[in-house]
């Protein structure tokens, strides 16, 4: 069963009760390097879901598969009921108009001002009069606390401000699915808390679903509904924040308590230290 809802000038079909995002046994490799080795996960409407894992474990690849930037080697990636593997470019763009993605470093357009950056998707996809675009942009900027920065160039923004402007641009078209790539990386404690609360509030206000890819355990546990832990290309643990806190899984314990020793080795595979320092004779 499907119902139709209006998004700007578009009418899009949404399957009622269908998970906005569902991955089934997804595998992906860059050349011969296998990144994802059979991932299953789903995101329900209205949920904020975190995908946690160490650097290079395949988190961002997962996000790019969901966004349609990459195609899975095998398995199925479904977004709003659409199989991402068979979508043509036009269909993919139609779907992306209902999605927003916050990139790790904001990816703001450096030749545009803060205002123009947030107005960009509105100007590209709608025929709204300039006065209405102006008001909408100011509303979005107000939501992230940067209404007063509308005239600034992107070069004049701090890292945290750039992330907030990018967030305003991400939600400019009121998306139904929002993807966040490392939204907490490199932020000071105040910005970190503000961005975290914004993610939660925006998701609830828009009635959207959000996926937050991060390695910041504590900040994400405070705002999300469900957590997936990724390691070595697989989902190794999952649960609500309460379940994760109570978990005795060695991986979860190592990750949540930031221990160097555990299932995840701190060191990249290497020959013995003495051998590297003093040559083979020392081993």
């Amino acid at each position: 069963m499907a119902r139709f809802i209006g998004v700007g000038s578009l009418l899009v079909s949404v399957a009622v009760g269908e998970a906005p995002v569902a991955l089934r046994d997804v595998r992906f490799a860059y050349g011969e390097r296998e990144i994802l080795k059979g991932v299953d996960l789903s995101v329900q409407r209205g949920q904020v879901v975190a995908i946690l894992g160490g650097s290079g474990c395949g988190k961002t690849t997962l996000l790019r598969l969901i966004g349609g930037h990459l195609r899975a080697g095998s398995g199925k990636v479904e977004v709003s009921g659409h199989d991402m593997a068979v979508l043509r470019r036009g269909e993919l763009y139609e779907l992306r108009r209902r999605m927003g993605m916050l990139f790790q470093f904001g990816a703001l357009f450096t030749d545009l001002t803060v205002f123009e950056n947030v107005a960009f998707p509105l100007r590209e996809h709608t025929d709204l009069p300039p006065e209405l675009v102006h008001d909408l942009v100011l509303m979005k900027l107000h939501a992230v606390g940067l209404r007063g920065a509308e005239h600034l160039r992107t070069a004049e923004l701090s890292g945290g401000m750039a992330r907030r402007v990018a967030l305003a641009r991400t939600v400019a078209l009121d998306p139904m699915l929002i993807l966040y790539d490392e939204p907490f990386a490199g932020l000071d404690p105040i910005s970190l808390g503000v961005i975290g609360q914004l993610i939660r509030r925006l998701n609830d206000a828009l009635g959207a679903s959000s996926i937050v890819v991060t390695h910041d355990v504590h900040e994400s546990m405070a705002i999300v509904d469900y957590i997936y832990f990724v390691s070595d290309g697989r989902i190794v643990a999952e649960g609500t924040p309460e379940q994760i806190r109570a978990s005795e899984d060695p991986f979860v314990c190592q990750f949540v308590n930031a221990r160097a020793d555990g299932p995840v080795p701190f060191h990249y595979p290497a020959p013995p230290y003495a051998e590297s320092l003093f040559g083979r004779g020392a081993a």
């Binding site: 966004g67 930037h69 470019r89 993919l92 763009y93 139609e94 992306r96 108009r97 999605m99 927003g100 993605m101 990139f103 790790q104 470093f105 990816a107 703001l108 357009f109 450096t110 960009f120 998707p121 590209e124 996809h125």
Partner: protein, 264 residues
């Protein structure tokens, strides 16, 4: 692995990479042309690029054109006066510029000034995920970023070549007529009689359009295809300038061999 086998394997890789890259460039050109409609319908995008590629290149084009014309005036008069043909200086300066030096030198300068800037801009947009962000917003980066820059370059190049030639003629006049004392009437009238609009001017314009397409395509392709790192962007800029220079000189030979064969 033995030496010859390693060399053969490396050579094979270079050739296959080259073929793959050439194929990708051809596919890129097809995509670019297919998505050029927006550049025409939203003309302000292309006009903005004409400003950045064309108007901002004016200074280097005007100054270089003037100096090249002045050098032609000096060198040309030195040679012509040995044969008692100093009055033909205008013809020499005009034909040299309109047929060859205008399109070729303007093309080389355009590649260095505007082509490298376009590659750097697109490459940095790629490195900072701006192109990915645009794509994620359902805005095609080829239509929105690449095509306007391509057409901006294609339109700017013939205009810059024409300005270069005009400034060169002015430089030749300055040296020949004002400083050396060649008869002004002979300078202009012989030029007017010798320069044929279709054979010389139109062919020169055709050359500059072809160079504009080549340089603009190389510039946008290198930017779009670069490795998204600081080093990758830097290498792409170098490739743009070197490939453009080689393409201009090679295309110039081919075009000249077709255009001016047997023309008296």
């Amino acid at each position: 692995m033995s030496g010859p086998v390693a060399v053969a394997r490396r050579l094979g890789r270079i050739v296959s990479d080259g073929v793959w890259r050439f194929g990708f460039a051809a596919r890129f050109l097809v995509m670019l042309l297919a998505h050029s409609g927006q550049s025409l319908m939203r003309l302000h995008l292309t006009v903005r690029e004409i400003y950045f590629s064309g108007v901002l290149s004016l200074l280097i084009i005007v100054v270089s054109g003037l100096f090249v014309g002045m050098v032609l005036g000096l060198q040309g008069y030195e040679t012509l006066q040995r044969f008692g043909s100093g009055d033909a200086l205008g013809v020499l300066v005009a034909l040299s510029l309109v047929r060859e030096l205008g399109p070729v030198v303007a093309g080389l300068l355009f590649a260095s000034r505007a082509g490298s800037a376009v590659t750097a801009e697109i490459g940095l947009m790629k490195a900072t995920e701006q192109l990915d962000a645009m794509d994620m917003m359902a805005v095609n980066p080829i239509a929105r970023v690449v095509a306007p820059r391509f057409w901006g370059g294609v339109i700017s190049m013939p205009l810059l070549a024409a300005i270069f030639s005009a400034m060169g003629v002015l430089g030749g006049w300055l040296i020949g007529v004002v400083f050396i004392g060649v008869d002004e009437g002979a300078f202009w009238s012989q030029m007017q009689a010798a320069v044929d609009f279709r054979e010389d001017v139109v062919n020169g314009v055709i050359k500059s359009v072809v160079f504009g397409v080549a340089v603009s395509l190389i510039a946008v392709f290198e930017g779009y295809d670069c490795t998204p790192t600081a080093e990758g962007v830097s290498r792409a800029i170098t490739r743009t300038i070197v490939s453009s220079a080689l393409a201009i000189l090679a295309l110039d030979f081919v075009l000249t061999s077709f255009m001016f064969r047997g023309v008296s």
